[in-house]
């Protein structure tokens, strides 16, 4: 069940009205939201609801033990909790990949073995809910958040349907306190939520979908058939597509949660206006980059042990961040590119200090093109296709795929980054005083326009596969 579908709309209407009708019974309300979340998840594969429950029970149990244990035993328990989460993630997501690599390695040494390859279906959103589980256990260990009062809270924390399949990664310290009592829906939250939903619908169903089907997918499928202009357009188009696709999901998730009374953290902040790679990662998938910082980079030592160690830590973090996105070497290479660029930036800062040696505009252009280079690795299914895309950038020929419409979408998708930084929030303040009928007609009109021009059907969100 995808957000921009009528089926989800009907589901959400039912959840919205039922949840608010239970506003005097927080326990029942949470139970209802949990059951609704499981129903939502079961639309992909009902068997994985069991995995979700298992993961929640595991994290709840470990966190409860940590809270009740003496300090000297907590280290073991947190290690056990993190390892169990990683085991679940590793089995479902990386088992096939590592067995394949091992098999290839053994064959190079002349040991041909039939290793047990399993046809494992990847549960949707597993990377997100296991990361959430890890952050909960570690935060309880660090004393950043108390252990949840009930299993129900942890189950809802990990299963809450707005963020379940593609984030944002909402931490226990953000969400558990909100579960303590029935939330209050304010006009700001409602208006902001509705605007984010409409904005997300526009980005996903029009910009991302049209670019994917009419430009990016055909060109990345066979780059040798296209000229440099089409290939460059496909690369820029993919940069816009992935931003509009993923940020749309986050916007809709934040908006849907807001209508149910819960606040999620911001996940994107105009990433393509970043003038350095470090700044890019403060703006792109913020919930993941801050997760990697707090639960990987800092425990590795962060920047505490000198420049060299901090560069090594950045590289490790970005390589594992790349692998988190998918079990393929292209993702590892993508992580290496981002890590390498950040290491160069660090070395540059260490050598030159904070002196500004290039203008901001040039920094933005360089950063954007490094990111686009990374997107080629990210999108191409093999290194061969990635190299073919790069080679195609020098091939002259007729324009076949790029049209005025697609060019407008690409320019529009990039221009979004130069809107005022809090444009939706500003619009929220302007629209908040409007009478409900005016707002209802405006929202209806916006959805009507989007619906009139969107292509039939909706492709799954890119980040579902992660």
């Amino acid at each position: 069940m995808l957000f921009p579908t009528l089926a989800f709309g009907v589901f959400f209407l039912f959840v919205y009205f039922t949840a608010w009708s239970l506003d005097r019974e927080n326990g029942r309300r949470k139970l209802f939201l949990l059951l609704a979340s499981w129903f939502f998840y079961a639309q992909w594969d009902w068997r994985f609801v069991g995995l979700l429950i298992l993961s929640a029970v595991l994290n709840w149990g470990v966190a409860a033990l940590i809270a009740r244990s003496p300090a000297d035993r907590r280290g073991w328990l947190v290690g056990l909790g993190v390892a169990a989460n990683l085991l679940i993630l590793g089995f479902f997501k990386y088992y096939g990949f590592f067995v394949e690599q091992l098999s290839e390695l053994l064959s190079r040494f002349g040991w041909e073995r039939d290793l047990p390859l399993l046809q494992i279906v990847l549960p949707v959103g597993i990377s997100f809910f296991t990361f959430q589980g890890i952050s909960y256990v570690v935060d309880v260990h660090r004393g950043k958040t108390p252990a949840a009062r009930s299993l129900l809270d942890v189950m809802l924390l990990m299963s809450f349907f707005p963020h379940l399949v593609a984030g944002p990664i909402v931490r226990a310290s953000d969400l558990l306190p909100q579960f303590d009592r029935v939330p209050r829906l304010t006009r700001e939250m409602a208006t902001h939520g509705l605007l984010l939903i409409v904005w997300g619908l526009f980005k996903k169903t029009i910009v991302a979908s049209e670019l994917a089907t009419r430009l990016v997918d055909p060109v990345f499928f066979d780059p040798s058939a296209y000229s440099s202009i089409d290939i460059a357009a496909a690369v820029y188009g993919y940069a816009v597509q992935i931003y509009c696709d993923f940020s749309a999901y986050s916007d809709m998730a934040i908006g849907i949660a807001a209508l149910l009374g819960y606040a999620f953290p911001r996940n994107f902040d105009q990433p393509y206006r970043a003038s350095s790679m470090q700044s890019f990662w403060r703006r792109w998938h913020i919930s993941l980059s801050s997760w990697l910082r707090d639960y990987l980079y800092v425990p590795l030592g962060g920047g505490r042990n000198g420049l060299f160690a901090s560069c090594v830590n950045v590289m490790i973090t970005m390589l594992l961040g790349g692998l988190w996105h998918g079990a393929a070497w292209t993702f590892v290479a993508w992580g290496a590119l981002h890590g390498g660029a950040q290491v160069i930036e660090r070395l540059g800062r260490a050598a030159l200090g904070d002196r500004k040696i290039i203008p901001t505009v040039v920094g933005v252009l360089i950063t954007f093109h490094i990111v686009c280079l990374g997107w080629i690795l990210f999108r191409a299914e093999t290194f061969g296709l990635a190299v073919a895309m790069l080679q195609g950038l020098g091939r002259m020929g007729p324009v076949m795929m790029l049209t005025p419409f697609l060019l407008t979408l690409i320019i529009g998708g990039l221009a979004m980054h130069w809107l005022p930084p809090r444009a939706v929030e500003s619009l929220t303040l302007k629209l908040k005083p409007a009478p409900s009928i005016t707002m209802g007609v405006l929202i209806g009109l916006a959805i009507l326009l989007i619906s009139a021009v969107r292509p039939d059907g909706v492709a799954p969100f890119i980040y579902f596969q992660f």
Binding site: T5, L6, A7, L13, Y16, F17, W20, D23, R184, L185, T186, R187, E188, A190, L194, E210, P218, A225, L259, P398, V399, M400, M401, L402, T403, P404, F405, L429, K432, P433, P435, S436, I437, M439, G440, V441, I443, G444, L445, I447, L448, L449, S451, A452, V453, D456, G457
Partner: protein, 187 residues
């Protein structure tokens, strides 16, 4: 006319109260007894709001937000006599507490959702029809498909489907435009 410096003949806003006789106490700003949030001080009405006590929950309410049901705070000036009479006859209830504010905002949001849904049911009937045709066959989807077909047909007779169709046609024309000299795509 009376002396303009005479407090008895001018209300705090400077509006002359003549030709009412000055021998009597001047009328208050409002013709009727005070409503909530307005206190009397001697003979004069003051319209300062009751300051919130420190224990009050913080409110994110924007004073200018609602045209329907919020008491204006501050000095709104003298009311029209009929409005004042209405307030006198039907005094507003006590200020909403946090729960009351929350309930009011939920009602507002729910009304938006209902209005938007009704708007879309009328002007976007084709979407329901398209969606129902994409669903796998079954008793439920078949029922929805038939209902949506009838609904879309009825709506089309009123012409409510035209705006959507016009936008769709214009969009399709723009989408299919090509650069001059561009070759058709390889399929």
């Amino acid at each position: 006319m009376s002396d303009p410096n005479d407090d008895d003949v001018h209300d705090p806003h400077g509006a002359p109260v003549d030709p009412f006789p000055t021998a009597f106490p001047p009328p208050p700003v409002s013709l009727f007894p005070p409503v909530l949030g307005v206190e009397t001080e001697g003979r004069r009405m003051t319209s300062d709001p009751i300051p919130p006590s420190p224990g009050d929950p913080p409110s994110d309410w924007d004073q200018g937000a609602d045209a329907h049901d919020l008491l204006p705070v501050g000095d709104p000036g003298p009311d029209h006599a009929l409005i004042a009479l209405g307030r006198f006859a039907f005094p507003p209830g006590p200020p909403l507490d946090d729960e009351g504010l929350g309930a009011r905002d939920r009602r507002w949001t729910s009304r938006i959702i209902v209005f938007a849904t009704l708007f879309l049911l009328i002007f976007n009937a084709a979407s329901i029809q398209n969606w129902s045709r994409q669903q796998p066959p079954g008793w439920g989807t078949e029922t929805v498909r038939r209902l949506s077909d009838v609904w879309a047909e009825q709506i089309a007779q009123t012409g409510a489907d035209r705006p959507r169709q016009m936008v769709h046609d214009a969009w399709r024309d723009w989408r299919d435009m090509r650069f001059q000299g561009a070759e058709p795509p390889v399929n």
